[in-house]
């Protein structure tokens, strides 16, 4: 559960409740970006974020995100589990 996976913000779904759609390795799901709204430069479509239990925890740069994703794919089962759980998630 402590795994954090990078995803790219694809759409701000609801600014009032800080819900954004993120793309994680082709899987698009809603996450909460409320922890990052006071980040310098804010948070917007195209930004890469580290996602933990349905919340964006921090902003990451694109190269870092790519490296982490490729590492996580290599982790096999743990990443697949996390991705499966994210797929089953229905945050709204």
């Amino acid at each position: 559960m402590c795994l954090a996976i990078p995803g790219q913000v694809a759409e701000i779904v609801d600014p009032a409740t800080h819900i954004a759609k993120v793309d994680v390795g082709g899987v698009k799901r809603n996450v909460n970006i409320g922890l990052l709204v006071e980040e310098p430069g804010g948070i917007d479509v195209g930004d890469w974020v580290l996602i933990h239990v349905g919340f964006a925890l921090s902003k990451v740069d694109e190269a870092e995100a790519a490296a982490t994703l490729s590492l996580l794919r290599g982790m096999g089962e743990a990443f697949e589990d996390e991705l499966e759980q994210l797929k089953a998630s229905d945050i709204g």
């Binding site: 559960m1 402590c2 909460n32 006071e38 933990h52 921090s58 790519a66 590492l71 945050i91």
Partner: protein, 373 residues
């Protein structure tokens, strides 16, 4: 998009390994604790120890949220899950953790409505969709996860959702580190600091470790190279006689942490006077409970729970594993009575637990050989 070239990685790993070897003083043994269970997972999965000289020993720390939940808390959760009209939700890892009388999975098999969720927001949605049911979220995790529970509670309050509550088991990372540093059982040389916890709390909370105990701390990322580089940074500090907090994971971890997340934690939670940690015993001010303002959402106030301390099974040595006093394979029941399929202790349940990591990645034989057993 650029992808990491694996060959260069392997090359760089070898280089870092020889730099670390070169920094090791002949005749000295180094004990470096990786605090975070995520790091433990990476270390075994990628065979980080294969790149280290024998004099550098990695000691696994208490930073696995599932592993540190004591049996009594599982029983308390189960007592709520058994109530009529309750939908009990938790993270998947938590389902198989044995309490004094079975696990949440066992209670589910008996007919209780226990569901695993990916996010506390999924639990909130279940509450919204089932207004005639009581939905309880069993919250676990360090400061990495606590802000997510906090924001979920703020949302529940804003929506005036009366059928949602949280049984809070959030813990904080610094008090157990302090307890370990004070423990006579274990003499460490340095710490690999937890990466994701630090995105929230930043690096400052670790400053007491070099200041009061003279040991370096390097906050590390989760790639194999991150860990090797962090060990290299630690060895450099030790070789140069420096003790500092350094941030290897600066590309993700801000030195000051996430101020908004810290502010939210302050608002929604307060420190418990003490909390029991599996294997580590009672540690003062080491866990969070819902603040007065959120008391209406506190499952522990909504239901009578036994609140009884349950001793770990005699055969289980998770406590010593969590303190880094013994290696997983030194536990009497490791791999025999205790396996990931039928765990006795929490360290065998979670993928971040040291025992499960050892067991799953077959590091067992090699480590035993290395220790001359």
């Amino acid at each position: 998009m650029k992808y990491v070239d694996e060959y260069r990685d392997a090359e760089l790993a070898r280089t870092l390994g020889s730099e670390i070897t070169a920094l090791a003083e002949p005749g000295r043994h180094y004990k470096v604790m990786e605090v975070c269970g995520g790091h433990t997972h990476t270390i075994y999965k990628h065979g980080i120890e294969d790149h280290l000289p024998e004099s550098v020993e990695l000691v696994h720390g208490p930073g696995c949220p599932v592993c540190v939940i004591p049996m009594g808390r599982v029983d308390d959760g189960i007592s709520i899950a058994r109530q009529p009209n309750v939908i009990f939700t938790c993270f998947g890892d938590m389902m198989r953790v044995p309490g004094g009388n079975g696990s949440l999975l066992d209670v589910k098999a008996e007919g209780a409505d226990v569901r695993f969720v990916y996010s506390p927001l999924d639990a909130l949605k279940i509450a919204r969709n089932n207004p005639d049911k009581e939905v309880v979220f069993f919250a676990i995790g360090f400061e990495t996860t606590a802000p997510s529970t906090a924001l979920t509670l703020m949302r529940a309050k804003a929506e005036k959702l009366r059928n949602f509550s949280v049984m809070c088991n959030h813990v904080t990372i610094v008090p157990p580190l302090m307890a370990l540093l004070e423990s006579p059982d274990l003499r460490l040389d340095a710490f690999i600091g937890p990466g994701h916890v630090s995105t929230v709390i930043g690096c400052r909370p670790y400053e007491f470790i070099p200041a009061d105990y003279g040991q370096p701390v390097v906050v590390a990322g989760f790639e194999p190279l991150d860990l090797l580089q962090s060990i290299y940074m630690i060895m450099r500090q030790l070789a140069e006689g420096r003790n500092e907090v350094e941030n290897q994971y600066g590309r993700v971890v801000p030195w000051e942490g996430n101020l908004r997340a810290l502010d939210i934690l302050q608002r929604v939670f307060e420190l418990r006077p003490y909390f029991e940690w599996r294997g580590l015993g009672f540690i003062s001010q080491s866990a969070l409970k819902l603040s007065q303002e959120y008391a209406d959402f506190d499952a522990e106030l909504r239901w009578d729970i036994p609140g009884v301390r349950v001793a770990d099974p005699k055969a289980c040595q998770c406590g010593e594993v969590l303190k880094g006093v013994i290696k997983p394979w030194e536990c009497k029941v490791f791999g025999t009575a205790c396996t990931p399929e039928t765990p006795i202790g929490t360290c065998m349940v979670s993928s971040e637990g040291a025992c499960a990591a050892y067991y799953n990645f077959g590091r067992f034989a090699r480590s035993k050989e290395r220790a001359g057993a």
